[in-house]
């Protein structure tokens, strides 16, 4: 079953992106402590994103007429893999590059494409995604934030929460109700592009258990939006979001969230000269799993390249991948603390505990484990 998930190779011309990109990444990551690099796609650095944009590494899948690279999903895979492996701070452009830009390209008007896509490719327009609300988490179809038609556009009222990077973003693409009531479920939902500098928008960062504030509450109080805030078709929001989630769930970020910690641990045991059977076994197990998950992730990308929307395949890979990411801090913690007479660098300890504390989010963001397993069950023909 799921035969379309088959070993695929990254084309040589896309592999060639790695070397020049590494030099650019190294300029930024050289001065970052391991525990900072472990934040990876939670790490915000607008200047780094602009540098990536100037060098042509953003909007790789977009047409050239919008400032894109016209390269395709494999090229983007290579770039994302390099950024995550190095622990580069990519949060600023992350959502715009990954899902807002493809969404605008697929469903936007020509005017919207011309307005939003070039600055995304330059690393100058940052986006966030307004999905969750206080009463709507996994049950996304129950959103209550509402946009009413006015003579000249829309009047937006309501609240979003757990919105990653809202306080650093220029725009939010929000899933809102434009007709009917929450009882209508998937009907009557639309996606609107909200300028976060508009009057009536209030953003309140939320501090997490690691001390970071990467997500926020966003309040809308009589926010007036123009007609062209609507992206795609009115009432088509659910279908559009589903297509968008295939992009959100399919990338290598679903297997690499703990890779900075893994590499730091490998360097530690190498420096300690510890090559015994148990150590080799743990290193080997984590390596075999990474190799297999990477192959699965590339094969999901191959489905994107083939023009498909691999929702079920992406869910399989994300569920297995986030389980792997979450196992790494537990296994490495056990290893380090079971060698109490072998001193570990305080920065390694700090990185371990950062990843241990944030790891529960890996299987929450972008669709919980339970939601993904439901999607897989549907793909198996059980629903």
């Amino acid at each position: 079953m799921f035969e379309t998930l088959s070993l695929s190779r990254l084309p040589a011309e896309d592999e060639a992106i790695r070397e020049p990109l590494r030099a650019l990444i190294a300029e930024t990551t050289a001065g970052l402590a391991t525990s900072r690099r472990a934040r990876s796609w939670q790490g915000f650095d607008g200047a780094f994103s602009r540098a990536l944009g100037a060098a042509g590494y953003l909007g790789l899948t977009l047409p050239k007429r919008y400032g894109g690279g016209e390269r395709g999903a494999f090229a983007r895979y290579v770039v994302v893999e390099e950024l995550l492996s190095a622990g580069a701070p990519v949060a600023a452009h992350w959502i715009a590059d990954r899902q807002s830009a493809p969404l605008i390209l697929n469903f936007g008007t020509e005017a919207q494409r011309e307005f939003y896509l070039p600055p995304i490719c330059r690393g100058e327009a940052f986006f966030c995604i307004g999905m969750s609300e206080p009463g709507s988490g996994s049950d996304l179809a129950s959103v209550r934030t509402r946009a009413e038609r006015t003579g000249s556009g829309w009047l937006l009222n309501g609240q979003k929460i757990w919105t990653t990077n809202a306080m650093h973003s220029d725009y939010m693409i929000a899933l809102v109700r434009t007709s009917g009531s929450p009882a209508d479920r998937h009907q009557g939902l639309s996606q609107l592009i909200v300028d976060l500098k508009a009057p009536g928008v209030t953003i309140r960062p939320i501090v997490d258990l690691t001390g970071d504030a990467h997500f926020a509450e966003v309040f809308f109080e009589n926010v007036a939006l123009n007609d062209d805030a609507l992206i795609g078709q009115e009432g088509d929001g659910w279908r559009q979001v589903t297509a968008e989630l295939a992009f959100e769930r399919s990338g290598p970020e679903r297997i690499y969230s703990s890779v900075v910690l893994l590499d730091a641990w490998i360097r530690h045991v190498q420096a300690a000269g510890r090559f015994d059977g148990a150590t080799a076994e743990l290193a080997g197990r984590l390596t075999a799993q990474l190799a297999t998950l990477r192959a699965m992730s590339i094969s999901v990308t191959a489905r994107l390249v083939a023009g498909e929307s691999p929702v079920v395949e992406a869910s399989l890979t994300k569920d297995l991948g986030t389980g792997y990411e979450q196992s790494i801090p537990l296994l490495i913690g056990d290893d380090l603390a079971s060698h109490p007479d072998e001193p570990a660098d305080p920065e390694l300890y700090r990185t371990l505990l950062y990843v241990s504390h944030i790891a529960p989010s890996f299987s929450l963001r972008g669709g919980t484990r339970e939601i993904l397993r439901g999607i897989i069950a549907r793909g198996l023909g059980l629903r």
Partner: protein, 330 residues
């Protein structure tokens, strides 16, 4: 030739000659001759033999789907092993016998539970740093005492005068491990399909058990493991013969670790019927356990892979893309 042109006739052949009834008959001591003659006549046994030597000249990667089909049909004959052995014999200039051949790595003359050893006419044996083709009657092949199993414990006191063949880099185990990984992937896929079908048919509490979220989530995990096992098996095959240590280790580490989980979920969802002899589930779940243990289980390969990985100063991503996937792309 695309995958289906190759796979379809092979799959049809297996469905014809390796039905569950025929598998049971052979496991009960019946002759494998009808099955073996059909396979020999099909020409598939020489799939890996170079065309110059009268074979088909396919790569390990190309026949990966066939190797999975062997597992998916619980074929009670060492077809994959014979394919590999015939290619190695051809490379060494030795005429291959007509009968089934198994691969065995002997340490101090012994090997434990070599699958299908008791139906083989010959064994391609790695011992003392060399490969030798040895007739089965020259080796003591003891029954394992495991019900229905055709595996055998091997003991060989004298290597005799059999000519030696060059040993592939890394020995016989890496390629044997990749064959097991493929068989596990094939059986895992068959078990997944059987288990999903059963969950849709079996009514409890007034509805199919597959409508229960607790059952759905077990099947989702099973599907993930089955896909991972297949992907790992493909990694093992991708670089051709002989597979690199890193590729073979990845294939067998992942597939062996998945095998036990998959067998357990298949049985959990099936309930009591699954452990009855007359129901076909056991044909596949027993094999998953046998193949998991054959030619090194998950921790054996994890340690070998880990040692190789720790000897490099590569990042984890660079290691997997240049040593595991990279070897595959060669």
């Amino acid at each position: 030739m695309d995958g289906n042109e190759l796979l379809d006739p092979f799959a049809r052949l297996l469905e014809d000659v390796a039905t569950p009834a025929q598998v049971r008959k052979i496991e009960a001591g019946g002759s494998i001759a009808p099955l073996w003659d059909a396979l020999k006549d099909s020409g598939f046994l020489d799939a890996l033999v170079p065309e110059d030597n009268g074979g088909v000249g396919l790569s390990l990667d190309a026949i990966g789907p066939l190797l999975q089909a062997l597992g998916g049909n619980a074929v009670p004959a060492p077809v994959a092993e014979t394919m590999v052995a015939r290619a190695m014999l051809a490379a060494g200039g030795i005429d291959a016998p007509d009968g089934p051949i198994v691969l065995a790595t002997l340490t101090q003359g012994r090997a434990t539970a070599v699958p299908l050893a008791r139906v083989a006419t010959h064994l391609l044996v790695e011992a003392d740093g060399a490969l030798r083709l040895i007739p089965a009657e020259k080796i003591e092949i003891g029954a394992t005492g495991v019900e229905h199993s055709l595996a055998g414990h091997l003991a060989l006191s004298d290597l005799g005068s059999a000519p030696t063949l060059p040993l592939p880099a890394g020995g016989l185990r890496p390629v044997a491990a990749v064959l097991r990984a493929c068989a596990i992937a094939g059986a895992a896929d068959r078990l997944l399909q059987m288990t999903v079908d059963y969950a849709n048919d079996r009514i409890q509490f007034g509805k199919p058990i597959g409508k229960q979220q607790a059952v759905q989530h077990q099947l989702a995990v099973m599907a993930e493991q089955a896909v991972a096992a297949r992907m790992a098996a493909q990694i093992g095959c991708a670089g051709g013969m002989p597979p690199s240590l890193a590729a073979a280790a990845t294939a067998k580490q992942i597939s062996s670790a998945a095998a036990g989980l998959i067998a357990n979920i298949a049985h959990a969802v099936h309930g009591a019927i699954g452990i009855s002899e007359e129901y076909d589930l056991q044909l596949f779940s027993r094999r998953l356990h046998e193949w998991r243990l054959a030619d090194g289980a998950e921790s054996y390969w994890a340690a070998l892979l880990g040692r190789d990985r720790l000897e490099t100063d590569l990042s984890s991503v660079d290691y997997v893309r240049t040593r595991v996937a990279g070897a595959a792309a060669a």
